[in-house]
Symmetry: C2
């Protein structure tokens, strides 16, 4: 990665500033309000670059939609089936035991992603 272009900085800032999870369209729209000539291709390209450099993380949301969030270490997600909202679940709050499987199989486990599906307070 060369140096941050204004476009890349804008995109990264949008994601860092936002506490929730943004879709490509969210990001594109927010970016356009600050930088009207930015193109959608630029958004996609930079999201890819930023993800490759581990500055942001892509989350697979409901209905095959991709969401992006700042890279803030291992954690999990809760997706509400009512309103499709995503929220973070901090790592210590749930525990996944992978020790047992790694002893049993020759698979090398590098990452564990746990997603909880359910109903949030508002939708209950």
């Amino acid at each position: 990665m060369k140096r941050y272009s204004p476009q890349r900085e804008t995109i990264l800032k949008i994601i860092l500033d936002d506490g929730t999870h943004l879709s490509v369209d969210d990001i594109y729209n927010q970016a356009r309000s600050k930088m009207p000539k930015i193109s959608l291709g630029t958004v996609y390209r930079n999201l890819k670059t930023l993800e490759e450099h581990a500055e942001i993380t892509q989350v697979q949301g409901p209905q095959q939609v991709a969401y992006f969030e700042p890279n803030r270490g291992p954690h999990h997600h809760f997706i509400c089936r009512g309103c499709n909202s995503i929220r973070d679940i901090k790592d210590p709050e749930i525990k996944v035991c992978t020790g047992c499987i790694s002893k049993k199989t020759p698979l090398k486990i590098e990452e564990v992603i746990t997603t909880l599906y359910g109903t949030c307070e508002a939708c209950s």
Copy 2:
């Protein structure tokens, strides 16, 4: 669901007979070899119907590709980052503790999906 059409039976049988995880294209191609005039739309429609009736399950594979498998109860998946293969991990082999979170938050958790990413024997 009315009654099984030959197309739906064919599609379901392909998935039940297969031990691995099939993409839409895999299913379409296998179906066409048995039933040359079947249309892609029919495959999609039936996959949706079969999933709604809990006969099959859709798995979100690597690179946003959807895979289908018979519905054989709760289990998890291991995805190899080398060859993109998916394999099942039986439920008792890993344990996810959700009890702790449900006490802390008012979220109603209905399903927990854990996906392991790593490297398989062949790719090591």
